[in-house]
C-alpha cells in the first residue's frame, strides 16, 4: 500500500527545551495508527506539525505527497480538503448551530446545493450516532461527548482520506468510547480511511489499532503492532501497559 504520511527526522525545540529529537515514521493508506507517550512528550505538537499548524525546527512532513513544512498557502488549502482533524475539545464554532458547523466545510469547499446539504448534514449526524434534532442546538448546549461526535461529523464532512484525532475518546463514557472506536474502524475499513490518533485509551489501543508508535524523550521508542509494542522492555512502555495488566487479566 502507498505511503500517505511520512515524518522524517523531526526536531522541535522551544527555547532550550528539546521536544522532538529526530522523530521518523511512515503511515500507509488504510492503516489505523495510534501515537502514545507520556504527558509532555510532544504528541499534540507533533500532530499540529503534521497538519501544518506548527512548524518543526527541522525535519520534514510529507502528507498525501505534499511537503507540509515547505508548501505555500494555496497548496496547503488544497491539502486541507483531503484530511480531517478532530481537536481535543471539539473546537466547534460557538456562534453557529451544530448543523451549520457541519455544513461549513461543505459550503466552503463543494458546490452542493443547500437542498442537498441539509439532508447530508442530518446523515452525518446520525453517522456519528446523534439524532438529527441535535442539529438545531448550539455547541454550548452539548455535553462533552456530544461535542466530540459533532466535531467528528465535521471532520468527516469532506470525506477525507486521512483523519487526525487528538485524544478522541477522552471524556467519553466507556460505552460511548467503544462506539466511537468501532465507528472509526468501520469508516477506515469501508472507506480506506487512514486514521492517525493521539490516544491514552488502552481499550482503543487493544481493539481497533493496527499499529502503535510510542514516543518518549523526543524519540520513537517503539513502532509496530500493539502486541509487539507491549513486549518491548523500555521502562516507560512496561509501566504504561502494566498499569492496566491486572485489570486485563481479571476481565478475561
Amino acid at each position: 500500500m502507498e505511503t500517505v504520511l511520512e515524518v522524517r527526522d523531526i526536531v522541535t525545540r522551544f527555547g532550550a527545551d528539546v521536544v522532538h529529537d529526530g522523530v521518523s515514521f511512515a503511515v500507509r493508506r488504510g492503516e489505523v495508527v495510534a501515537l502514545i507517550g507520556g504527558s509532555g512528550t510532544g504528541k499534540s505538537v507533533l500532530l499540529k506539525e503534521m497538519i501544518g499548524l506548527m512548524r518543526p525546527t527541522s525535519g520534514s512532513v510529507h502528507l498525501l505527497g505534499t511537503d507540509v513544512c515547505r508548501s505555500g498557502e494555496e497548496e496547503m488549502n488544497g491539502l486541507r480538503r483531503r484530511f480531517g482533524m478532530l481537536f481535543q475539545d471539539g473546537a466547534l464554532f460557538s456562534s453557529l448551530s451544530v448543523a451549520e458547523n457541519i455544513a461549513v466545510p461543505l459550503r466552503e469547499h463543494t458546490d452542493l446545493p443547500d437542498a442537498l446539504i441539509a439532508p447530508l448534514v442530518g446523515f452525518k449526524l446520525s453517522l456519528v450516532g446523534l439524532s438529527p434534532d441535535t442539529g438545531r442546538k448550539t455547541p454550548a448546549e452539548l455535553s462533552g461527548g456530544m461535542r466530540k461526535r459533532v466535531a467528528l461529523a465535521r471532520a468527516l464532512a469532506l470525506e477525507p482520506e486521512i483523519l487526525f484525532l487528538d485524544e478522541p475518546t477522552s471524556g467519553l463514557d466507556p460505552i460511548g468510547a467503544r462506539a466511537f472506536d468501532s465507528l472509526v474502524r468501520t469508516l477506515s475499513d469501508s472507506l480506506g480511511l487512514t486514521v492517525f490518533m493521539v490516544t491514552h485509551d488502552l481499550d482503543t489501543l487493544l481493539s481497533i489499532i493496527d499499529r502503535t508508535i510510542a514516543l518518549s524523550t523526543g524519540k520513537v521508542i517503539a513502532d509496530g503492532p500493539v502486541a509487539a509494542v507491549m513486549r518491548s522492555d523500555h521502562p516507560w512502555i512496561r509501566e504504561y501497559f502494566s498499569a492496566r495488566a491486572p485489570h486485563e487479566e481479571g476481565s478475561r
Binding site: S94, S95, S97, A99, E100, T110, D111, L112, P113, L116, A118, P119, L120, V121, G122, F123, K124, L125, S126, L127, G129, S131, P132, D133, G135, R136, T138, P139, A140, L156, L158, E159, T186, L187, D189, S190, L191, G192
Partner: protein
C-alpha cells in the same frame, strides 16, 4: 453502455431493476450523482445494486443513492447488492443503518423588526433585575468583609489597581487634554467677540472639573477596564475556573469582584484628577496661543474663579461611576454562558451598559446637586 459522466445505469433484467453503479462515487461528484439519482424511476420497489463497475464510493454519495431509493420505496429488505467489493458493500450497509433519520428542519428562526424591539426591551428589564440582585450579593459579601477583614485580597486588588489606573493615565490625560483644547478654542472664539476672552478660564475650569473630565474618564475606563473585566471573568467562566473557585470553598465575588470593585473605585477619582489637570493644561495652551492670556494670568484667574466644590463634585462622582462600571462588568462576566461567542456579546453589552449608566448617573447628579444648591 453509456460512458464516463453516467453514474448509474438502470436495466431491467428478468423483471428486476438492476442498477449498475459506475465510476468514482465521491463527494466532489455528488451534485452530478444526485441529479442522475433524482431522475431515477423504478418498476416496483425491488432493486439490485450492481457494484461490478464501481471504483470508489464514500458516505455522501452512498447516502444520496440510498436516500433516493428509500423515497422510491426501496428499503433494506428490497435492496440487494451484488458483485460489489466487500468494502463498498460494508459502507453501504453502514450508510443504510445510520440514515434512518429525517432531515433537519431549518435551524434558526428570523425575528421580525417589532419582535426584535420588544425582545430587546424585555431583555433590558431582565438585565436590570439581575443587576439589582447582583448588587445585593456583592453587598452581602462586603458586609462579610467588614466582619472578617482577612478575606480581603490585597495583592489582587493592587495588581488590578495598577492596570486600571496607572496604565490608563496616559490615555486619560491625552483625551482630556485634547478636549480642553477643543473646549477652550470654541469658547474663546465666542468670548473674543464680546471682548470677554478672560472668561474662557472660568468656562474651561468649571466644565472640565465638574463635567467633562469625570464623564470622559469614566467612559474611557468603561471601555478599557470594564470590557477587560467582563472578558477576563467570562473566559474564566468558560474554562470552569469560577466553578473551581467555588469548589475550593472560596467565593467568586470575594476573589474576582471585590478586588476589581475596590481597584476601580479608588483608581477612577485619581484618573479624574489627572484629567482635570490635563484638561486645564489644554485650555491654558489655547488661551496663551489664541487669546493672549499668559499661563500666569490664566492660573491667577483660575485661582479666584474655580470654586473648590466644582473639583470636589467631579471627584465625588467618580467612585459612583466606578462602582456601576465594576458591578456591570463583573456581573456580565459571571453571566457568560459556556462558549466564546457569549464572552464577546457580554463584553459589548458591558461597555454599552456602563456608558449609558455613566450618563444617566451624571444627569441625576446634575439635577440633585442643583436642587441642593451645590
Amino acid at each position: 453502455m453509456a460512458e464516463a459522466p453516467c453514474w448509474i445505469a438502470p436495466e431491467l433484467e428478468s423483471g428486476a431493476n438492476i442498477l449498475y453503479l459506475q465510476g468514482r462515487w465521491r463527494l466532489a461528484h455528488v451534485p452530478g450523482i444526485a441529479a442522475e439519482v433524482a431522475a431515477l424511476r423504478l418498476a416496483g420497489d425491488h432493486c439490485v445494486l450492481d457494484g461490478s463497475r464501481l471504483e470508489e464510493i464514500d458516505t455522501a454519495a452512498g447516502f444520496v443513492l440510498l436516500h433516493r431509493l428509500a423515497e422510491l420505496g426501496c428499503i433494506a429488505r428490497t435492496v440487494e447488492v451484488r458483485q460489489m467489493a466487500e468494502a463498498h458493500a460494508r459502507l453501504l450497509t453502514l450508510v443504510r443503518e445510520r440514515m434512518a433519520a429525517p432531515s433537519v428542519a431549518s435551524p434558526t428562526r428570523h425575528r421580525g423588526a417589532i419582535e426584535r424591539v420588544g425582545h430587546a426591551a424585555v431583555l433590558v428589564g431582565r438585565i436590570l433585575r439581575a443587576q439589582v440582585s447582583f448588587l445585593g450579593r456583592v453587598g452581602v459579601e462586603l458586609a462579610a468583609l467588614l466582619r472578617r477583614p482577612g478575606l480581603f485580597r490585597l495583592k489582587e486588588t493592587v495588581s488590578q489597581f495598577e492596570t486600571v489606573t496607572l496604565d490608563a493615565i496616559g490615555i486619560a490625560a491625552l483625551v482630556t487634554f485634547l478636549i480642553g483644547i477643543v473646549f477652550a478654542y470654541l469658547l474663546g472664539v465666542q468670548a473674543q467677540r464680546y471682548g470677554a476672552a478672560i472668561f474662557v478660564v472660568d468656562g474651561v475650569g468649571l466644565a472640565i472639573c465638574r463635567e467633562l473630565s469625570p464623564i470622559l474618564v469614566a467612559v474611557i475606563v468603561a471601555g478599557r477596564s470594564g470590557a477587560a473585566f467582563t472578558a477576563q471573568i467570562g473566559s474564566m467562566k468558560v474554562q470552569e475556573e469560577t466553578d473551581a473557585i467555588r469548589t475550593l470553598g472560596l467565593s467568586p465575588i470575594q476573589v474576582l469582584v471585590v478586588p476589581r470593585l475596590v481597584a476601580i473605585m479608588t483608581g477612577l477619582p485619581l484618573l479624574v484628577f489627572v484629567g482635570d489637570l490635563a484638561g486645564i493644561a489644554g485650555g491654558m495652551l489655547i488661551a496663551s496661543l489664541q487669546l493672549d492670556i499668559s499661563p500666569t494670568a490664566f492660573l491667577a484667574r483660575l485661582h479666584t474663579v474655580l470654586p473648590l466644590k466644582a473639583v470636589v463634585v467631579g471627584l465625588v462622582k467618580a467612585p459612583v461611576f466606578a462602582a456601576f462600571i465594576a458591578l456591570i462588568a463583573c456581573r456580565m462576566g459571571l453571566a457568560v454562558a459556556r462558549d466564546a461567542r457569549s464572552v464577546g456579546e457580554n463584553t459589548t453589552s458591558t461597555v454599552v451598559q456602563s456608558i449609558v449608566w455613566v450618563i444617566v448617573l451624571d444627569a441625576i447628579f446634575a439635577v440633585v446637586l442643583q436642587r441642593l444648591g451645590i
